[in-house]
Structure formats: structure tokens, C-alpha cells
């Protein structure tokens, strides 16, 4: 527990020291939203709500991939070796997942704010939509952290990250988009309970697999 707290603290300090990375991510999501805004040439209510929703999740997906792919590469090999001697692999992967979840939640909430600001906000049930964003942040972070760990071991990192992660993340993305669509249309919350349960189950599978498999990855 103590180890976990220290490791998360380390991630945050590291991020804070290299603030350009965090600012870069924020700028990335803001400029992507703006590109979409300009390329659709919208007045706020011309966009079909379904398209609105899809576009938002695609932006979040790309932000997630580029934000998380750096989580194993920003530190040099020597330093990783140093952590290897200090901390248990479970602690490392869990701290990375938790930290990335937090990062994703912050990024996608900020993205949602700006997106709703320029593209209009057709959401019927906003608390539910925000809950979806939080769940999606956790889910994306846990899947992508593991994939980033795998991709960081290979040479051609950036390309490999996207071919490995897109297929693996699609079940989660589909569930999230369905949940978001329910929230968008302001359906009764009981309708969405099944999706929430499946999403949490997928999260649980991914996190437990990461905990089991990461020690093997970490050794190399």
C-alpha cells in the first residue's frame, strides 16, 4: 500500500516536472476538438447527436492512445532497471494504471467541457454522461497501460501501439459509446445498468490480467 502511494507520487512528480507533456496533451485534445469544429463548419445544432457522440469518443480514444503510450517510454532504461530492483512489478503496473486512469479522467473531462463549449451540448442526462466518461477513463487507461507495456518492449513503438491497442480496446469503446448514447438521449437510468455492469466486468478482467501478466513482461 505504502509502495503504491510512493509510486503514484513519483508518477505525479514526474509529470509535474515535465509539464510540457501534460500541457501538450491538453493542447492536443483542445486542438483536435477545434479541428473538428472547423471542419464540420457547425452551428451548434446542425450536428446529429449520434455523430456528436461518436466524434467525441473518437477524439477521446486518440487522446488516450497518445497520452498513455508514453507511460513506459518517458523514462530511460537505466531508471526502469532501478525501479526493478526497488519495487514489485504488481506495484508498478497498479500505480501506472491508477495514475493513467486519473490522467485520462482529467483529460477527457476537460475535453468534454471544451467540446460541449464549441460543439453545443445535446446531452440529456449530464451526470450519467460524466459517469460514463469516468468509467471510460478507467477502462481505457487499464487496457492501454498493459498494451503500452507490451509495445514499449519492441522497437517500432508508435506504430505497434496503435495496431495492438485499437482491436483490444474496441469492446470497451462499443460499450462506452452505447452507455453514452443512453445518457445522451436521457433514457431512464435503469436501461443502462446492464452496460455499466459489463463495462465494470471488462475492467476487472483487464486489471486482473495485467496484474498476473505484467511480472513476466517486466522481467525482460
Amino acid at each position: 500500500m505504502q509502495e503504491l502511494r510512493t509510486l503514484i507520487g513519483k508518477e505525479i512528480t514526474l509529470e509535474w516536472r515535465q509539464r510540457y507533456a501534460l500541457n501538450g496533451m491538453l493542447l492536443y485534445i483542445v486542438s483536435t476538438v477545434f479541428v473538428c469544429y472547423l471542419s464540420f463548419r457547425l452551428k451548434s445544432n446542425q450536428l446529429n447527436p449520434l455523430t456528436w457522440n461518436t466524434l467525441f469518443w473518437i477524439i477521446v480514444l486518440f487522446t488516450a492512445v497518445s497520452a498513455i503510450s508514453k507511460s513506459f517510454t518517458q523514462e530511460r532504461a537505466g531508471r526502469l532497471l532501478y525501479y526493478y530492483t526497488l519495487a514489485s512489478p504488481r506495484g508498478i503496473i497498479l500505480s501506472k494504471i491508477l495514475y493513467n486512469s486519473g490522467l485520462m479522467i482529467v483529460l477527457s473531462l476537460a475535453g468534454f467541457g471544451f467540446y460541449a463549449f464549441v460543439m453545443g451540448n445535446p446531452v440529456g442526462d449530464i451526470p450519467m454522461y460524466l459517469l460514463t466518461i469516468v468509467l471510460a477513463g478507467i477502462g481505457f487507461a487499464s487496457t492501454l497501460t498493459m498494451v503500452a507495456g507490451i509495445a514499449s518492449k519492441a522497437e517500432n513503438n508508435a506504430a505497434l501501439m496503435s495496431i495492438l491497442s485499437f482491436p483490444a480496446i474496441i469492446p470497451m469503446l462499443l460499450m462506452v459509446m452505447k452507455l453514452a448514447k443512453n445518457a445522451l438521449e436521457g433514457l431512464d437510468r435503469s436501461v443502462s445498468s446492464e452496460e455499466i455492469v459489463v463495462l465494470l466486468a471488462l475492467d476487472a478482467i483487464v486489471v486482473s490480467l495485467s496484474l498476473i501478466l505484467f511480472p513476466y513482461l517486466w522481467r525482460s
Binding site: K153, P167, A168, P171, V198, V206, S220
Partner: protein, 217 residues
Amino acid sequence: MKNNWWKVLAVVLLTYGFYFGLMGEVPRRNILNESIRNVYFHVSLWFATTLFLLTSAIYSIRYLRSNNLTDDIKAVEFTNVALLFGALGCATGSLWARVTWGDWWPNDPKLNSVAISMLMYFAYTVLRSSLEDEQKKARISAVYNIFAFAVFIPLIYILPRMTDSLHPGNGGNPAFGEYDMDNQMRRVFYPIIIGWMLLGTWIATLRIRVRALTSND
């Protein structure tokens, strides 16, 4: 001969299955008509594919515990066979979809899941070729393979059942066996499943032996 009886069995079962699958009596159903015969080929190919992917995942787990490179080779070859059978499953499914649903590739959740999982396993082969060191390649691809299998199962067998789908057994549709198949068909269907599984295992074992021989040089 004593160890090869199952290869003979594979040939016998598949010959039997193909002959009666194409020539035997089938029940007449609306829309399906004669195309109901495809259940012998399309469905059984996917059952076999799932079995090979499961075998591959098991060999990956064994590799992680034993660090024995032959386990890794077995995992790869079973994935390759699964990719071959999956491609055949897609092709037969596509023909069937053209006849019954009117489109080569209808927008159906199960088809999309299949496409995604094929992409995932092609990514596995790309991942392997991008790593140089043998042990490292084996370890990392084993980790990915297990991960991919854990995504494959919900993708193919759980998520399509939750949405509207054209496939029987999904989205509240009754499964195929419930009333479309009769006992006559089952007598052909089950042998052909076993036949495909044996044939695929045979292909995989041959390739594993070839690999073992070439790597000894």
C-alpha cells in the same frame, strides 16, 4: 500407425461430413432453403477456430511457466491455424450472408467482432516479427496472446448476444439448434466439427515439426 489413428479419423470424418453435408437430406426452412447446409461448414469452422485459439492461449500460459521455446512454437502455430480457419469461416459466412441476408458483409455485431479479433491476431504476428531476441519475443508475445484471448471471448461470445444481431442465438434470437436442426443434421454436424478440429491439429503439428527441424540447423 498406432499414433496416427486420429489422422485417419480426421479424413474419414471430413469425407463423411462433406459427402452427407452436400448430398444428405436437409429440412426445408424459409429463407434458408438449401443454404442450411452451410451450418455444417461455417459453424463448425468457427468452433474449431475457437478451440485452436484456446489451445494457443494454454500453450502461452505454459510457456510463461516453463520458459520452454517449444511451447512458444506450439502457441504460434495454433494461432496460425486459427487464422486460416477463421479466414475460411469468414468466407463461408460471407457467402451465406449474401444468399440469406442479401449482402456480402452485412453490418452485424458478430461480423464486426470477428473482423476485430482477426485484426487482433494479425497484430500478434506483427508483434512477433518486430522483436528480435528469441526469448524476449516468446515472452512478450505470450503475454499479448493471453491478453488477446481474454478480449476475444467477450468479443465473440458475449457482446454480440447483448445487441440486435442477425445471427441466431444472439440478441434474443433463438439459437440455431433449437428448432432449425433435426437429428438427421446433427448426425453430420457433430462429426464434421471433430473432423475440422483434428485436421487443424494435424496441420499445426506438421508445422511445429518443420519449425523444430529448421531451427536445429
